[in-house]
């Protein structure tokens, strides 16, 4: 197999524009999905049975079905609902494939993120919480000063791999016409004969994004661990 330079020169700019879309979607997924997932984790641990049950139901639903179905429900399914078509703001949002893809990524990662933080919040030693209560902290102070920082530190390494999953899940946007990396790659694969080259190039883009992501989380982890070291 000879390296087809012309093909690469043609594919690179297209894949690069695709990479921008991938990064945008992944940034929304992590930026919105992380706080929402944290909130959902707290909801699932709430003493109120109904609220906790609702949270568990949401997480079970989104973790038990493929994201492709979720995406198609949002993009093709909701477009049939009269209320959505007739409300200008809703219709402006749901007729846009990019918005729907972003929403699907956020809804999906929220479920998985809640699972990560639920485990981390439950792993906090009871003594630490009792100590905080004993010095007279209110529930809100306990949450912001003790539980969240501790849970965050525990969860960070696991969350890093969820962030990579988010990057990969954005590829589903290509099935509703959004041309991110995988969408561009598919178009190029069907137009040219350099299927392996296109795959290799597209993989390279993903690997660079993933490595950047892992690097960012490694820096965060080190900063988080600063207080732990003597």
């Amino acid at each position: 197999m000879t390296l087809d330079l012309e093909l690469i020169a043609m594919a690179l700019p297209l894949l690069a524009t695709g990479a921008l879309v991938t990064i945008k979607l992944a940034a929304v997924g992590v930026g919105v999905g992380l706080p929402l997932g944290l909130g959902l984790a707290l909801l699932r641990l709430a003493p109120n049975r109904l609220l906790a049950g609702l949270g568990d139901g949401y997480a079970g639903l989104f973790r038990g079905t493929p994201m492709l179905v979720q995406l198609f429900i949002l993009y093709y399914g909701l477009a049939e609902v009269p209320v959505i078509r007739q409300t200008p703001a809703l219709w402006w949002f749901f007729r846009d494939a990019l918005f729907c893809a972003g929403l699907a990524v956020v809804l999906n990662t929220t479920a998985y993120t809640s699972e990560i933080f639920r485990t981390a919040l439950r792993a906090i030693p009871q003594g630490q919480i009792e100590a905080a209560l004993a010095v007279g902290m209110r529930p809100w102070t306990l949450l912001t000063r003790i539980r969240l920082p501790l849970a965050f530190r525990n969860a960070l390494p696991v969350y890093a791999s969820e962030a990579i999953t988010v990057v990969k899940e954005t590829s589903l946007a290509s099935t509703i016409t959004v041309l991110e990396i995988t969408g561009q790659a598919k178009r190029l694969m069907s137009q040219t004969f350099g299927i392996l080259e296109i795959f290799a190039l597209a993989s390279l883009f993903y690997l660079v994004i993933n490595l950047a992501c892992l690097g960012a989380f490694a820096v965060l982890e080190r900063r988080q661990a600063r207080g732990m070291r003597p």
């Binding site: 079970g60 639903l61 038990g64 079905t65 493929p66 994201m67 492709l68 179905v69 979720q70 198609f72 429900i73 093709y76 399914g77 909701l78 477009a79 049939e80 609902v81 990579i164 990969k168 899940e169 954005t170 590829s171 589903l172 290509s174 099935t175 990396i181 995988t182 790659a185 598919k186 694969m189 069907s190 299927i195 392996l196 795959f199 597209a202 993989s203 993903y206 690997l207 993933n210």
Partner: protein, 234 residues
């Protein structure tokens, strides 16, 4: 609304189509997971034993596939592999079987990359003492592997394999974009024909949920059964 749904499902025959789609989804997921497990276990042993060259090759394969979206892998297999599989298996242009074989290969390749990591972790979790004890009583490497290492590793791996299975079931939906008539594809066709996308995609979601929940329950049972002989840590 409910009578409409009934008409769609029974009179127009979509219930049967969805059931067939479910069967194909389960078959593709089983095939993919089996392929992934059968290839993944020896690969994990290569990694565990740190066999030079082969171990690195497995690491690159597993890292690459786990680092890129499943959809991209599926496009590679479908655009690049149809010709190869057709000449290899002499299917004589039987596109239904070809599609299924391609799907199982694509899903299996993805599933395998994750299985390798699960098996590797399971092998590493075996206490050194157990392996040494087996060798000390005079078992040969092969016997020790067959009687001690492999059973222990499989038991350790079951939880992780459950995760891989769940992921693989959901990954089968991706194959719909290249035409295999599994659950997602049937739902998409039904959505197009009947112009009731919402109904059919929600039905598909419910069916996927049923598949994952039922198989989850089966896995928990298997885990309990396997742990019985280990003092019943259930």
């Amino acid at each position: 609304m409910s009578t409409d749904l009934l008409t769609l499902l029974t009179d127009q025959g979509w219930a049967l189509a969805l059931a067939k789609g479910c069967a194909l989804t389960i078959a593709a997921a089983l095939g993919g997971t089996a392929l992934g497990g059968v290839m993944g276990f020896p690969m994990a042993v290569l990694r565990w034993r740190a066999v030079p060259v082969l171990s690195q090759a497995v690491a690159v394969y597993s890292g690459l596939v786990r680092g890129v979206p499943g959809l991209l892998v599926i496009y590679l297999i479908f655009f690049g592999g149809v010709q190869a599989v057709e000449t290899l298996l002499h299917l004589g242009g039987n596109s239904a079987i070809l599609g299924f074989v391609m799907a199982v290969i694509a899903i299996g390749l993805i599933s395998c990359a994750y299985s390798v990591e699960v098996f590797r972790a399971a092998l590493q979790a075996i206490p050194r003492g157990q392996v040494e004890a087996a060798l000390a009583v005079g078992m040969s490497d092969l016997v020790a592997f067959r009687r001690i290492i492999a059973p222990l590793a499989l038991r350790h791996a079951l939880g992780g394999l459950n995760n891989v299975w769940q992921m693989t079931v959901k990954d089968t939906s991706l194959v719909s974009v290249v035409g295999l008539q599994e659950l997602m594809r049937v739902a998409a066709i039904a959505a197009g024909v009947t112009r009731s996308a919402l109904v059919f995609y929600i039905l598909a979601a419910a069916l996927y949920l049923a598949i994952t929940l039922i198989s989850q329950a089966l896995f928990l049972r298997a885990e309990k059964a396997l742990n019985l002989s280990f003092g019943g840590r259930s």
